[in-house]
């Protein structure tokens, strides 16, 4: 009998405690983050979308070799005198035209293995993670800043230079003037539709 009333008292008492807990939580700050409006700051080493700073790229192909899923495709053409591509911000001389630098971000597994071997630290992970697309092909990012015409020009010059070198080495000084103006790498190519613009470093494409 004593047990019976104690049970009743205990049940009311524990329900009271439980209701107190839930009532307190009614007024505690919620942990929900209203995602599109509020975003959590990512950690320093968060691995998201890749970005390549083409000004610093020397076309060494090390990132492509390091990639475990082969999502980076690099093609280069040797720059011939008198074209001087200058040096990177880290002081490495640039000796190659990077005619193609494609990253298929759809294949990318965000391992960041391509980031470490880069001698000029030009390929890096950004904190951009909102880059979904309706078409998978839009996820193939072309980072190369050269237009097809410039690529052709560079390739032509390299072939010519090789042929000339094979023919006669003493004539190179004369040929240099006839080679025409040197191509200037452009930052943005607007008229070319079969080429995606490289994404901005810190901006997501919506």
């Amino acid at each position: 009998m004593k047990r019976y009333f104690k049970d009743i008292w205990d049940s009311f008492y524990t329900i009271g405690i439980g209701m107190g807990v839930t009532f307190r939580h009614l007024f505690t700050k919620s942990v929900t983050i209203q995602y599109p409006d509020v975003k959590l700051e990512l950690t320093d080493r968060a691995r998201n979308r890749l970005y390549v700073n083409m000004d610093d790229c020397i076309g060494c192909d090390q990132c492509s070799k390091a990639c475990p899923v082969n999502c980076i495709t690099i093609e280069t053409v040797k720059a011939v005198p008198p074209d001087d591509l200058g040096v990177t911000s880290t002081g490495n001389p640039k000796r190659l035209w990077v005619t193609k630098f494609d990253i298929d971000i759809a294949k990318c597994c965000y391992c960041a293995l391509c980031v470490y071997p880069c001698p000029t630290e030009c390929i890096k992970m950004t904190d951009v993670y909102e880059f979904s697309e309706f078409d998978r092909h839009n996820l193939l990012y072309n980072f190369s800043t050269m237009t097809p015409a410039e690529v052709e020009n560079a390739a032509m010059k390299f072939e010519k230079w090789q042929a000339d070198k094979a023919a006669a080495k003493k004539e190179t000084t004369d040929k240099k003037k006839a080679a025409g103006e040197k191509p200037q790498p452009k930052k943005q190519e607007t008229g070319d539709s079969n080429k995606n613009n490289p994404p901005d470093e810190n901006k997501s494409e919506s």
Binding site: I15, G18, V21, T22, H25, T28, S30, V31
Partner: protein, 339 residues
């Protein structure tokens, strides 16, 4: 009320129809609000936010959007089900629940029907909801639905006894079954409310509240639905607006027992401050706010307590509530004799 309406309207039948549909004007917005409130209360008790987008301010129109979605949904009837019973059950459920609103005095001027047996009528007519749940569970031709429906009937048959006895304690104290008269008897200040009439009526209220939770299948007594074990129980096979009707019935039932509780114990449409803020319009306000308070307590309990097991459910009813209710009834009667 009907007489007043008849003076303005061309046909007496039209006046009757409007008179009958008036609780609907309260019940429908209330259900939309209560479903939203349930989501917000549950969310905040779990440190979440709940709906925040729809409509702008804290997702206020989420239930309106849900209702539009439900109306657009396909009306699926299982091929091996009992078609007539299956289609009819949700409507019968809401009929049973809405019929009970007829005797709830929403204000000193408005009551659907002046029945002298109002309290008895409510207890009798709400049993139709049980019947419809049993109909839905049987007609679905689904073992989970049938299990849910059988649990419902077992539960409601058991819990009707303490409910009735708790209501009977009030009847012993007031000497009438007419809910309007009971409300009028409690007019004046807060101390005239029946909950303060005697300590035994307070116990009667606690008994009434617990057993009414079971009557409307709310947690911790929500075994008929038990979404985690019976995948929704009796309404597993329902979709679209038919399912919506069951949801509507559930919330309307919650409102009904809360209103009945406030009429029987908390003064109904009476203002707690005597003449201050009292009148027919304030009556509606007090009635609905008292009802909403109990609905909040029900939600609060739902997000605090886990569901009981079937044997615990029966234990609570037969070993605790029923003995207490009967002893309490005798004590209330003795109190009335002595004082």
């Amino acid at each position: 009320m009907v007489e007043t309406l008849e003076q303005f309207l061309p046909h007496p039948l039209l006046a009757l129809f409007i008179h009958a549909a008036l609780p609907m004007v309260i019940v429908f917005p209330y259900v939309l609000f209560a479903v939203w409130l349930e989501r917000k209360v549950s969310a905040h008790m779990q440190d979440r936010l709940g709906p925040m987008r729809t409509g702008g301010w804290h997702g206020w129109s989420q239930t309106i959007a849900d209702m539009i979605k439900m109306i657009q949904k396909e009306d699926i009837v299982p091929s091996r089900s009992d078609k007539f019973l299956f289609k009819f059950a949700p409507f019968l459920a809401f009929m049973g629940s809405y019929a009970a609103f007829a005797v709830i005095p929403f204000s000193s001027e408005y009551i659907g029907a002046h029945l002298d047996v109002g309290a008895f009528y409510i207890l009798a007519v709400t049993s139709i909801v049980t019947l419809s749940i049993l109909m839905a569970g049987w007609a679905s031709n689904n073992k989970w639905s049938l299990l849910g429906a059988m649990r419902t009937s077992a539960q409601i048959v058991s819990y009707e006894i303490p409910t009735v006895v708790a209501v009977l304690s009030v009847i012993v104290a007031t000497g009438t079954l007419n809910l309007m008269t009971i409300s009028e008897m409690q007019s004046g200040t807060i101390f005239n409310w029946l909950i303060f009439h005697s300590p035994f009526l307070f116990i009667a209220f606690v008994l009434y509240f617990i057993s009414s939770l079971a009557e409307v299948n709310r947690t911790p007594f929500d075994l008929p639905e038990s979404e985690s074990e019976l995948v929704g129980g009796f309404h597993t096979e329902y979709s679209g607006m038919r399912w919506g009707m069951f949801m509507l019935t559930e919330y309307a039932d919650m409102f009904l027992v809360s209103l009945l509780g406030s009429v029987l114990f908390f003064g109904g449409w009476n203002s707690p401050f005597g003449d201050f803020m009292s009148g027919p319009i304030w009556g509606v306000f007090w009635m609905i706010s008292k009802g909403m308070f109990f609905i909040f307590v029900m939600m609060w309990l739902r997000w605090t307590l886990p569901r009981l097991r079937v044997d615990q459910l029966m234990d609570v009813c037969w070993k605790y509530l029923i003995p207490f209710a009967f002893v309490n009834l005798v004590l209330v009667a003795l109190w009335e004799m002595i004082f």
